[in-house]
Every structure is written in structure tokens, then in C-alpha cells.
Symmetry: C2
Subunit: 498 residues, 2 copies
């Protein structure tokens, strides 16, 4: 069984949201290929990321473990979103076992295309953690920088850089033009063809970032969407997914390949409307633990094995892809640590549904939990008043009294309870004295108690920053004459404002 | 060509919204039959009602004309939503030509099942305006009343009442149980079978009201939805649509029958979450001229003539069904008056798109206009501060500064402009000094100027109220011993608060 994860990217400023798929109700309906993928496979309306932010979400995907376990969080302040900008010192610890490392033992060839985001220093690179190939960047495609105070982000081909964004790899911030998605598509098709030719099993993690601000698309797609530049990027992404599926068919390996499409966090409403997507009917967006921050578009496709036209109400998580992939590859997940992802193969292959909770973390705090149709918020916070006053708003146009709080509000003694079936927008907390609240909360409290009892937090990786660790002199820079001189090391405690 | 309009109901308190269809992204995806209808036909994501309220919307559907032309509006106060409660004196004027009157000339048998809502006094009844048969009620299924201060609403079979709600036709407000949708379904199937047997062309207007508060469903559907009682009602409605389509196939007339599914206004968010639906990503709901108030679910189905799997970006209106149906029946719309509906047959049959504006009225005021992807608000108003303080909120949880205004705010000199493609939620007004605003507004201003120049307002029908005109002694009451004594006539100017 081959595997492709097609995943679109994130950072602070943008992200493909649940509501961006035509099949999930985006009014312009500009994702015909992914919509078709859904009609040929399983659509998961209740699928979650493990975190409302990029790096932690990706670390969870590849380890099958919550960020608080695998170290992708901060303890510098309470309940803060942290990720891996250039100045971050940490990255994925060697002690974590990543999906490609485990698949390698089963004879898989593993490639990541696009944004890695699990640490940009040498020891954290994909090829040190089980991937055989890499084409892409370690960090977000922000810039251009001056290469004095801050270097431009390198693009790697395997273990060496082949250029930098805004230098060898252009993104025209004014027009939005960039060929990156096309390059990433060609990389994907080439990799798949090579594995087919050499009859190797493969795992492809196609982690493109066109829908992350600054959003971009190649010339044939620019100006073609009814939704503006963000829509152009979505259209190219959708086109590319279609090309990948078509190639799998052409090569005669579609029936041996599981393809899963999802996203690493909710649409970044702060970048809307020109650079941000849609979370459909859900509350708020990226950075928050409301549904808009973590409910993801999700489609599983595997002709021959998965019956088409299904909708699964399974509560799913990106972390499940770790466990499910191992299971389908005949491997067991490591038994020396807690794995949060569950094996979805009974859902994919037999239409079953497994009861399980979903935990919503922001940094070091469990903010909320979902059990069945109910979601209980133990803490609420959209972002700080100070940031709101500067125009940084993760819930633009939405204001639900006592819910979208601008201070960190604790509800641990009496969680805010919502029924996500009749109230997907988290607008109507269930009355505490009601029979429903009294019946449901004990079950949730019990699940939380069990979860906290078993929680052993990992060493936080996102606490320390240092300008010296930025991408000054990545491997391969000498050959290209692109090495820069790092400043002296002066580590500091990173500041995570929200 | 036969025609069915399946339409779900409204009133002040509830309504099936754009976002309630699975195919439009309702997360619980509980409309498999309508979703299938869409995959076999055309889905219209950009389809509008002619008004954000029930009676005017239905009057527009059946006359092809805006409520301000056909009289279904009030001049008692500026920009007010008015409809036809029991105390209303007015109704559809004889001077208006209704779709069934015109189809009758082409040999059609016409039936309305469900809520009529174009006036409950004798002269306004469906059988006086072209329908051959009627089963249903003239007003909303509110109650129960005491039959002293206010009579219960009668249910008619053709020209005579056969009982009253909460008396012969039960709606259990506590459990939500009622057999009305089942009865309406059986009425529909019976009518269709009879027309087939007698080889008559037919027009069926299936105007059921289960999703209007108080929402109801029959026993087999109660408690079956993930979305609560509102979802139960949607599920029964969806089931019934499936049964109607199935019967058309069984009778061998599916290929001769155009079926159009839509709704008469947006979901009533004021009734959410237990009695109200979803407007997906759109702003506000019923009663407002934001997208959530007037953007409707819309599906056209006609096996053999309409190619399945289409999405049409045509800006459509319920009023178009008037003109389109006449066109397909080989009839011309009346040429002695302005008809707002356009002929959609080139869209249905040839996949064309026709450029046309959409006007958003609230009572006697043109509040907004859409042209292409742009919408300009000339006036904004969600509802009054006074009502908001009483908890009457048509935009719960949504608050967009300068847009969701609680006073009637005039923008006629500088309309608020939105791009509905990249900003379907009407959150980000386009800057007035921008080139985009300066380029777009002249075209909109020109369309509005033309529209206003040609506007001849009809005699307002919704100005006068009188307790004496309520359903005290409807035709047929004597036979049933159900006549009540009306009070003395004391007309007053109806008060429309929002």
C-alpha cells in the first residue's frame, strides 16, 4: 500500500479551511478535483488537526502524538501558540519516532515535498528523521529579507540547499505569481513515477503552502478565481491534486494507493478576505481552539479498497494518519509511549465508527474536549486585548458573549458546553442547570480525568530563540556561494503573544 | 412539461437556509435525497428569494414580480418586513396574474399543498387565483389559540376548511410530533398519480412548512437527526423530496417533469439552534437583506433535459421560476406589466449564464443590489435597538462594525460595497478610494437608476389590520360545526417593528 498525504500549509497568516472545499459548501465551488475525490472516497466532516497552528500540527501528524507529548509547545507563558520561525532553537527531538522512520523499516521510500516546519537546524531536517528525499523549505515563505538582519529562507533538495526564496525561488508579492506549486507538483509526479518504475512502496507527504500568506499561484491560475488571489491558489492546489490522482491511475497504482487530503489548521481569518480562506459555519479560525481553528477538510481516497460516496461521522484527527498508515503497512506503532492517533482502517475499509475524544490544546493547556456531539471548553481565549487593539483579530465579525473572550477565561469548574450538531457555530452554550448538561458533563469530566492522569508532557521545544540559529549557512550554501555570517549567539526566551 | 416546486416554509421564526443542504456544507449532511437531486441536476449557489420574508417572497414567486410591484409590502413605516398574519386585511390583488392562472390556459392542472400565505380572506384563496386544488393552510401554523380572542388556523381541502390546527390537525409543541409533512407528501403523490392517470399536464406547488417554528416531524423522524428537532424536520422534508422524485420515475414521467427545490427566505437565526437552520458562511438571516436573509438553497432537476452534475453561477431568483415555467410551457408572460423574473431555460438546457442584477428589498425600500460578484448596500439595518434589547436578534453572534447596524443607516451617497466571491460573509467593505470601488460603483449606480426609473409601486396590501378578518368562520365551517363569531370590525394601521 502506497500513501500520499496531500496537505496544504499554514503559519500565522493563512490556511485552507474546512469551508474552502466546494463539497463543504464554499459558494464559488472551485475545487472540482477534490470534490470528485470525495465522491470517489470518504468525506470526513468531523476531522481535526491536533493544534490550531502549523508546526505543532505537523509534528503531531508525523508522530501520532499531541504536541504536548512530542515537545512542540511552549511553557514560556500560559496557553500560547508557538511554532518554528527562523529564530527558534528547538525542533523535533531525536527521541520522537516519525512515520517515515517506521515505514522505512517496512521497505517504504519516503519523500516530503513542501514545508517541513519541524525545525530548520541541521539535526532536525527531514532526512535525519526518516525521509529519503525532500524538496522544499524548512520554514514559512516569508520575506524578502535583507540577508543581514535576517536571511532569506532556503529551499532544499534533499540534504542541501538549492537556493533561497525571493532569490532563486521567486514569489512576486505584488502580482502573487510563483511557480512553486507547479514545481512541487512536478516533484510529486516524478517521485511517484520513479517508485513505480523501481517497484518500491512509497510514502509521499505533499505539504504545499500556496494558500499560506503570502498566497501565490502560477501564471495560468492567477486571476481565474471568483474568490481573488486566495482562490487562485486554491484552484492550483485543487488542479494539482487532480493531476496526482490522474497519474496514479495512469501508472496503474491507484488501487494500491491511499491518498488523504487535509489541512494543518483552520483558515486564518486574520488574512481574509484576500489572503485567507473559509471555515464555513464554524467559529473563528487559526490560532483558536474553536471549531474554525481545528476542524479540517478531510478526504480519504483509495479506489478498489474504499467504497466511494461515503460520508463518515468518525471523529478523526491528523494524528490518526500515523497509526492508520502503520496499520495498513502491516506495522505496529511504538509501544513504549502513548500514541494519540487511532487506527482508522476499520472506518476506511468497513464503514465502522469508533468512539473517542478529541482534545483541543493551545500550547501547554487543554482548552477544550469533544466527546460525541458535545464539546466542552475548559478555557476560552481568542487572543489578547492588546493585540485586538492593534487589529489582530482571530474572530473577525464574530462576537459571542462569554465565548469569544479576549482574556484567558477559565471555565474548569463549569465548562462551557455546546452541542456541535445543532450548534456547529458554538453560539449557544447549554444551560448548566439543564438535564442535558448534567447528563453529559460527567462523561466528559471522566474522559478528561483519564487523559490528564496519563499525560506526561514532553520537553518543550519552542521556548528558546536565538538569531544565531537562523538559516545563515545551510548545508550546501558553499557550493552556491550563498553562505551568510551568523551573529553571535544570544539566546532569549521566545515571546509568544497569543 | 410538468412542474413541481418543492418549497419549504417560513414566517417570522424559522426557515430552511442555504447552509442546511449537505451539498452546501451542512456538517451533519442529512439531506441525501436533495444532495442526490443536485448531483442529477443543477445546483445554484447564487439563487435568491425576492424578499427576506415569507408572504412577499411567495407572492413574488407566483407573480414573477417584486413585492413592491405586486403589493406585498407596507408603507406604514420605512423599510419594514410585513407578512400576512390573521389580522391582515389585504392579500393578493385580483389584478395580479399568478403562474397557475396562466398555466391553466395552457391546459395545466394546478395544485398547492401547504402554506399559501397570500391572504386568508375568501377572495384571496388559491382557488380564486388559478389553482384547481389546495390542501393546506392560509397562514402559519402558530397556536394553539383560544378560539375567543383568536381563532386557530384552518386547514383547507380545496375551497372549504376541513379542520383547524391543534384541533383536527395536531402539532404537539412539547414533543414536536405532527403528521403534517406525511399528509402533504401523500397529497402530492396522490395528485401526481391522478394527473398521470388522466394524462394531464400539471403544476404542483409543494409548500410545506415543517422547518418553520414550531418545527415538527412525524414519529419515525423524531430524534433521528444529529441536529435536534430542526434536523428531524429537515430529514423528513428531504425524505419526502426523495419520495416525490421516486414516484415520478415509477410513473415514467420523470423525464417530462421539471422539479425545482428552494426556500422562501434565509434560515431564521432567531430560532436557532433548536428551531432554526443554517445560512452557511453568509451573514445574518431571515428578516435581513444580508446574504443570509435571501440566498437560498436551489436545485433544478429534470432527467433527460438537464444534464446532471452541474453547478450554475447564474444569479437566480425565485421570480425566475414564473417566467421560466411559462416559457417551458410555451406561454408568454403578460406584456402589460413589468416582470422581474427572467427565463432561465437557456441556463437549464444550454448551460448559459445571463447577466442581471438582483435587488434586495425590505418593505418599501431597496436596501441593496447585486451585480456580478459585487453587492452594494444602499441601506443597512438588522433590526431595532429596542427589539435587540428584548433579545430579538437577527444576526446572533455576528457583529460587523458599520454593516450590521441596529439603526436604519443610509449609504445612498456612498454605498457599502462587497465582493461576494472573496467575501461571501459581507465582512470587508471595499475601500471607497480604491480603484475597484471607483470602477464598479458607476455600473451599479446605472443599474439602480434604470430600476428606479421603471419602478411603479403597487398598492400596498400589508398596511391594514383588523381582528374581524381573522379565520373565524371560513368556508365549510358550518358543516363541521366550527364557525366562530367575529368581533366588530375595528381596522388599524398594522405595526411592523422591523
Amino acid at each position: 500500500m502506497e500513501t500520499c498525504f496531500t496537505q496544504n500549509n499554514n503559519g500565522r497568516r493563512s490556511k485552507m479551511g474546512w469551508g474552502d472545499l466546494g463539497v463543504n459548501g464554499e459558494p464559488s465551488r472551485e475545487t472540482p478535483n477534490i470534490d470528485k475525490m470525495a465522491t470517489e472516497g470518504i468525506l470526513f466532516p468531523d476531522f481535526y488537526s491536533a493544534n490550531p497552528l502549523c508546526s505543532p500540527s505537523r509534528a503531531a501528524l508525523l508522530t501520532g502524538r499531541l504536541p504536548i507529548r512530542n515537545g512542540f509547545y511552549t511553557t514560556n507563558a500560559h496557553a500560547r501558540n508557538a511554532y518554528t520561525p527562523q529564530e527558534i532553537v528547538g525542533g523535533i527531538p531525536d527521541s520522537e519516532l516519525l512515520l517515515p522512520e517506521l515505514l522505512k523499516k517496512a521497505g517504504y521510500m519516503n519523500k516530503i515535498i513542501g514545508k517541513w516546519h519541524l525545525g530548520h537546524r541541521d539535526q532536525f531536517h527531514p532526512l535525519k528523521h526518516g525521509f529519503d528525499e525532500w524538496f522544499g523549505s524548512p520554514n514559512c515563505h516569508f520575506g524578502p529579507y535583507d540577508n543581514k538582519n535576517r536571511p532569506n529562507i532556503p529551499v532544499y533538495n534533499n540534504s542541501e540547499m538549492v537556493g533561497r526564496y525571493f532569490e532563486e525561488f521567486q514569489i512576486d508579492l505584488k502580482t502573487g505569481e510563483s511557480n512553486l506549486t507547479r514545481i512541487y507538483l512536478e516533484e510529486a509526479l516524478d517521485f511517484i513515477r520513479r517508485q513505480k518504475a523501481s517497484q518500491k512502496k512509497f510514502f509521499l507527504y505533499w505539504a504545499v503552502d500556496a494558500v499560506h500568506a503570502p498566497v501565490y499561484a502560477s501564471k495560468p491560475f492567477l486571476g481565474t478565481s471568483k474568490r481573488g488571489r486566495y482562490g487562485d491558489a486554491v484552484r492550483e492546489l485543487d488542479f494539482s491534486v487532480g493531476e496526482i490522482l490522474k497519474e496514479l491511475h495512469n501508472l496503474g497504482i491507484a488501487e494500491n494507493t491511499l491518498v488523504f487530503f487535509s489541512s494543518d489548521n483552520g483558515a486564518a481569518l486574520i488574512s481574509a478576505p484576500t489572503q485567507g480562506g473559509s471555515n464555513g459555519p464554524f467559529l473563528c479560525g487559526k490560532q483558536t481552539t474553536f471549531e474554525g481553528g481545528m476542524r479540517e477538510p478531510a478526504v480519504a481516497w483509495w479506489p478498489g479498497s474504499i467504497t466511494g460516496g461515503q460520508v463518515s461521522y468518525q471523529l478523526g484527527s491528523l494524528m490518526d494518519l500515523f497509526t492508520t498508515t502503520l496499520s495498513l503497512a502491516g506495522q505496529h506503532p511504538p509501544d513504549d509511549r502513548i500514541i494519540d492517533g487511532i487506527d482508522l482502517s476499520p472506518i476506511l475499509l468497513q464503514g465502522k465508527v469508533i468512539d473517542r475524544p478529541i482534545f483541543y490544546y493551545r500550547g501547554n493547556e487543554m482548552m477544550a474536549v469533544r466527546l460525541g456531539m458535545y464539546k466542552a471548553h475548559y478555557w476560552t481565549w481568542t487572543g489578547s486585548w492588546a493585540e485586538l487593539k492593534q487589529g489582530i483579530n482571530f474572530c473577525p465579525g464574530q462576537n459571542i458573549s462569554g465565548v469569544t473572550t479576549h482574556d484567558q477565561r477559565e471555565h474548569t469548574l463549569q465548562p462551557l458546553l455546546f452541542h456541535l450538531g445543532r450548534d456547529p457555530g458554538e453560539k449557544y452554550p447549554i444551560n448548566v442547570p439543564s438535564a442535558e448538561y448534567q447528563e453529559v458533563m460527567p462523561r466528559i469530566i471522566s474522559a478528561v480525568k483519564q487523559h490528564k492522569k496519563e499525560m506526561v508532557a514532553g520537553e518543550p521545544q519552542l521556548n528558546v530563540c536565538d538569531l544565531a540559529v537562523m538559516n545563515w549557512a545551510p548545508p550546501g550554501c558553499k557550493k552556491l556561494g550563498k553562505c551568510l555570517t551568523p551573529p553571535q549567539s544570544k539566546p532569549w526566551k521566545c515571546d509568544w503573544p497569543h
